[in-house]
């Protein structure tokens, strides 16, 4: 009895912390897919790119991976701005955005993967940091720092982004741009510029999300594919464009996966998670926090 209760409690804790990681990898999709209607399926590939950025800074210069990723964020921001500009000129401006845009991002996904393989090879990489290994204990509950520190970093990033979106003029314009781009223009905001900033922000988040990924588990170039389904599922489940929804959905999914893995075996967790997604969408199609 005691044993299974402890097992249950720890499964909840590690699920909660895993949810923090899911929130970090999904928040960018919440912006690009949820607010801009851009189905960036290459998002997880950029997360892996972020992992390699953190890994390189860590193994080469001994910098903390999370701090390194924050320093690298401006570079990811510029990369995102460049990709959006290309996407806009090649597809969105001509109204070809939906299907051809998807092919474009599929291409980006492969180019990023193959690029990483050519440069770094296919070996698994990992990072060193003082918080990888030790744990905090609260009674019988174990909080591995390897999960706790990324959890806090993720919540900080989501919180700061939300402050920016809800309090700044550009942020509010980002919330509005998918609803009526022309209306935004007559208020004096260039919708293309607003979308570029938003998309660049979504890619900037992959730098930290990638560092979090490689802190939690070893990374190889194509590992991002494992997350494509989950990332979109969390964004839809939370309610597209809702940050609070994304965090709650990420934590719910984390806890469900962790419980399933503990009591039934890891291979069942995707089935439970996606089953829950289908059920939730059947009850509330706009997602948990959808407007």
């Amino acid at each position: 009895m005691d044993l299974s209760l402890g097992l249950f409690g720890n499964a909840i804790v590690s699920g909660l912390l895993l949810g923090g990681f899911y929130a970090a990898v999904t928040i960018g999709i919440s912006i690009s897919f949820g607010m801009l209607d851009i189905a960036n399926i290459a998002h997880p590939a950029f997360i892996v790119l972020g992992s390699y950025g953190a890994w390189y800074a860590n193994s080469r210069f001994g910098v903390d991976p999370l701090i390194a990723s924050v320093v690298l964020m401006p570079a990811f921001y510029l990369l995102g701005a460049g990709i959006y500009q290309l996407y806009y000129h090649a597809f969105e401006r001509r109204g070809d955005a939906s299907l051809r845009g998807l092919a474009f991002f599929f291409g980006l996904l492969f180019i990023t993967e193959v690029g990483l393989i050519l440069v770094f090879g296919v070996d698994y990489r990992l990072v060193r940091a003082p918080y990888i290994g030790p744990s905090l204990y609260l009674g019988a509950l174990e909080f591995p720092l390897r999960l706790l520190v990324p959890f806090l970093a993720s919540l900080a990033m989501v919180g700061l982004l939300w402050l920016y979106l809800s309090r700044s003029f550009t942020g509010r314009a980002i919330l509005a741009v998918a609803q009526d781009a022309e209306a935004l223009r007559i208020l004096g905001a260039d919708p293309v510029r607003i979308k570029r900033i938003a998309f660049a922000l979504s890619i900037a988040t992959t730098s930290l999300a990638g560092a979090i990924l490689i802190v939690i588990q070893p990374v190889e170039p194509s590992i991002g594919r494992d997350y494509i389904g989950r990332v979109f599922a969390i964004a839809v489940l939370g309610g597209l464009g809702s940050f609070a929804g994304t965090v709650v959905a990420a934590i719910l999914l984390g806890i469900m996966e962790s419980l399933t893995a503990t009591f039934y075996g890891p291979s069942w967790s995707p089935a439970i998670a996606f089953g829950f997604l289908l059920l939730a969408l059947a009850v509330k199609p706009s997602g948990m926090f959808g407007r």
């Binding site: 003029f169 509010r172 509005a176 208020l187 004096g188």
Partner: protein, 243 residues
């Protein structure tokens, strides 16, 4: 303080189709000018030309703001808004999934409007008390009359000098049309605006208009220097009002 708008010989259209032909209109400083005409005669296109959303193939559009003349043709919409020209578009074009307050705050995107944002928001809530009650409600869930209030208030948040209003009466019940038109006059007086208003509802529009232009098939068919001149015009009685 004076801000005026002058269109001279504006010709515009979409592709080979001319929607406006050689249109000249003067909106003097502090005046309310009504642009009258039924659907499909080019009122909206004219408004879009002023806002830089449609580019005229000929003619000039000059805004004089505080004694400085600005040619608007060739400027981006963002640059035109930045000069202090506000626009309430046809169909209101609110952001349906944002709250009333969020919609209003977006109205103050123009850099010059940002320092006055608290004062302007107060003014909007005083002018439209209903909006204060509904500040946290999603704009898309409001009634047509309330949405028209949000659209007017959102344009005021940009602290405009010249305000363009396209079809404020569309989709509103007659009693609300009257109220909306009264509100436009009240706002014009309290904010010292120069107003160009496109409207199908002739009787309502000329209640507050100092001058009016009747536009038929993209040309100015009649120019009335006063409400009486418009009311008594033979052409309007015959073709417009069908009397």
């Amino acid at each position: 303080m004076a801000s005026s708008l002058t269109l001279s010989g504006v010709t515009a259209g979409y592709g080979a189709v001319h929607v406006l032909e050689d249109v000249s209109i003067a909106v003097p400083a502090g005046a309310t000018v009504a642009l009258l005409g039924t659907n499909g005669n080019g009122k909206s296109t004219l408004m879009k030309c002023v806002m830089g959303l449609v580019r005229p193939s000929a003619g000039s559009i000059v805004a004089e703001i505080d004694g400085v003349r600005h040619e608007l043709v060739g400027r981006s919409t963002e640059a035109i808004v930045a000069l202090g020209i506000g626009f309430v578009p046809e169909g209101r074009r609110l952001f349906p999934k944002l709250t009333v307050t969020e919609n209003l705050m977006l109205g103050a995107f123009r850099a010059a409007a940002r320092p006055e944002i608290a004062r302007n928001l107060d003014f909007c809530f005083e002018t439209f008390p209903r909006l204060r009650e509904r500040a946290g409600q999603l704009a898309g869930s409001m009634s047509g009359g309330e949405q028209q209030m949000v659209a007017l208030a959102r344009a005021l948040m940009s602290a405009p000098r010249i305000l363009l209003i396209d079809e404020p009466s569309v989709g509103l019940a007659p009693v609300l049309v009257r109220r909306t038109i009264d509100k436009i006059r009240e706002l014009k007086d309290s904010r010292q605006l120069t107003v160009l208003m496109a409207e199908q509802n002739f009787t309502q529009a000329i209640r507050i208009a100092d001058q009016g232009y009747v536009i038929v098939h993209g040309r100015i068919a009649f120019e009335g220097a006063s409400a009486e001149a418009l009311n008594n015009n033979e052409l309007i009685r015959k073709f417009y009002l069908g009397m």
